[in-house]
Amino acid sequence: MKIIFTAIDIVYNWARSNSLWPLTFATSCCGIEMISASAASYDIARFGAEVFRASPRQADLIITAGTITHKMAPALVQLYEQMPEPKYVIAMGACCITGGMYENDSYSVVRGVDRLIPVDVYLPGCPPRPEALLDAIIKLQKKMKTESLLERKQYLEAHKPRVILSEDRDCEILLPNPDFEVIHWGVQTIGYDKDYKKAEVNCV
């Protein structure tokens, strides 16, 4: 029985890792690099990933290319939840990973997209080269090829969305879940309250 499951896993992992259909989702300058990755000189089609789907129902991968603001956050979470399993996330660019240069004193930027959705591959750069995006896709394929369906379920369980989405889609409730321990290096460690205080200090 185990052998059969392993065989299925191998075939299935091969299939889904070679047919990553990304969602057409770009919020700022990293999106331009994403577009040029699908153009002639870099050609994301070589990995079978040129099928940019407009509908999240048919996408396997969301490349969060660009700054995610508090206003965009509910839309992003909604798009992610609309995608069918198995789904993967590449956080592209500094703004997506940690907030980048907006991290200290911005009133509007989400500090790291992994507070909203579970991220599989972090791709730093401001913006990263198209080759770096291809590299991220290769690394994601590597990850997909080594994981089984059961492991994926456990991973998602451990990386549940870290934000409580309010009923009326009000952005103010988009605060980090207090139970969740923010993985972050450096000064800023907890929630946004501290950030705001810090921002004031910086402004002064």
């Binding site: 075939v11 299939a15 889904r16 070679n18 089609a45 990995f47 079978g48 129902r57 048919q58």
Partner: protein, 363 residues
């Protein structure tokens, strides 16, 4: 053919009734297999050709030179989660891809791929083909309506409007073929074109060929007439809410319809399975060498298949080429093009071919 099949089953000591029952199933099994094979190859071909047209490389990582890319896509779509939102009409939502898919499959049975390779040979084949090909639109409209999504609904409505306007010039263009061949049977239409390149229907009815070609691109919702799934306007059109296998069925139906439309155009206008010479190549070249009639028959059969495939893939390449070149039309341009331009052309074509027919036959 049936006798041979019954004999084989008789050797295997199976009763006659099994042969009778299974004989009807075999063509459909073959058609389904053919359809899946054709679509898998066609999708790969399109992705490769589009890549080459835009100076790219196209899929080349999966299997030898990217040959297994579509297999990977198919397996992935099979295993993908099937999402159905709460507010959908669940019965119609499930049945819509099947309604879009089934008529295309029946059209495969009506097509004369070679002289003997035709599953259902009926007198009104041409009529039935167009009746069935417009049924696909019902599936699309149902998908749009049952999804309970405004984009899907708009896509479905657009598809209905498009199908209604493009069906008319399409059928009138095809009417000239019925006039020329004097029959609605697809096999007879092909036989009427025998006698080399210049007896093909494309010469008396060239305008009809153009009209049918444009209309069939619109009929299968291809670029530049892909308004029902216009990505920049309607997210993904009628299949916005579809995921996994149901989406794959729509995908399959679209590409299968594309292939069968090309087969239809080559059957009606380019002589179908007939060669562009006076006689079959195998007869011209090998008649003196091979004396055995049975081998000759097989060779001719294969050659017929080759000619049809060659013509079909030429047309398919043309369609992919158009997709690589032209942008999408606006909705009003689409309608105006059909009613103001294609319809008069189709009528002119009908009159011209009738005159030619009368002039040749002399009454």
């Amino acid at each position: 053919m049936y006798d041979l099949y019954a004999k084989i089953l008789n050797i295997l000591r199976l009763p006659e009734i099994i042969a009778q029952l299974t004989w009807a199933v075999i063509p459909f099994a073959c058609i389904a297999a053919l359809m899946v094979f054709v679509v898998i190859f066609l999708v790969l071909m399109e992705r490769k050709f589009l890549a080459w047209l835009t100076v790219r490389k196209g899929p080349n990582r999966v299997g030898p030179n990217g040959f297994l890319q579509t297999f990977a896509d198919a397996i992935k779509l099979l295993f993908k989660e099937d999402i159905m939102s709460e507010e959908t009409n669940k019965l119609l939502f499930t049945i819509a891809p099947v309604i879009a898919f089934a008529p295309v499959m029946i059209i495969y049975g009506l097509m004369p791929f070679t002289e003997h390779l035709i599953a259902i040979n009926i007198a009104v084949g041409l009529f039935l083909v167009f009746a069935l090909s417009s049924l696909t639109t019902v599936g699309i409209v149902l998908a749009g309506w049952s999804s309970n999504n405004k984009y899907s609904l708009l896509g479905g409505m657009r598809s209905a409007a498009q199908a209604i306007s493009y069906e008319i010039p399409l059928v009138i263009a095809v009417l000239s073929i019925a006039v020329l061949a004097g029959s609605l049977n697809l096999k007879e239409i092909v036989t009427a074109q025998s006698g080399g390149l210049f007896s093909w229907n494309i010469f008396p009815a060239f305008i009809g060929f153009i009209v049918l070609f444009i209309c069939s691109i619109a009929e299968v919702n291809r670029v530049p007439f892909d308004l029902p799934e216009a990505e920049s306007e309607l997210v993904s059109g009628y299949n916005t809410e579809y995921s996994g296998m149901k989406f794959a069925l729509f995908f399959l139906a679209e590409y299968a319809a594309l292939f069968i439309m090309s087969v239809l155009i080559s059957t009606l206008f380019l002589g179908g399975y007939l060669p562009p010479f006076n006689d079959y190549l195998s007869i011209i070249l090998l008649d003196n060498i091979i004396k055995n009639q049975a081998i000759m028959d097989i060779l001719i059969h294969l050659e017929q298949g080759f000619w049809l495939v060659a013509k079909t893939y030429t047309l398919l390449f043309l369609i992919i080429w158009i997709r690589g070149t032209l942008p999408r039309l606006r909705a009003d341009q689409l309608m105006g093009f059909s009613w103001k331009f294609l319809l008069p052309l189709a009528f002119i074509n009908l009159i011209l071919t009738s005159i030619i027919k009368l002039a040749i036959q002399g009454y």
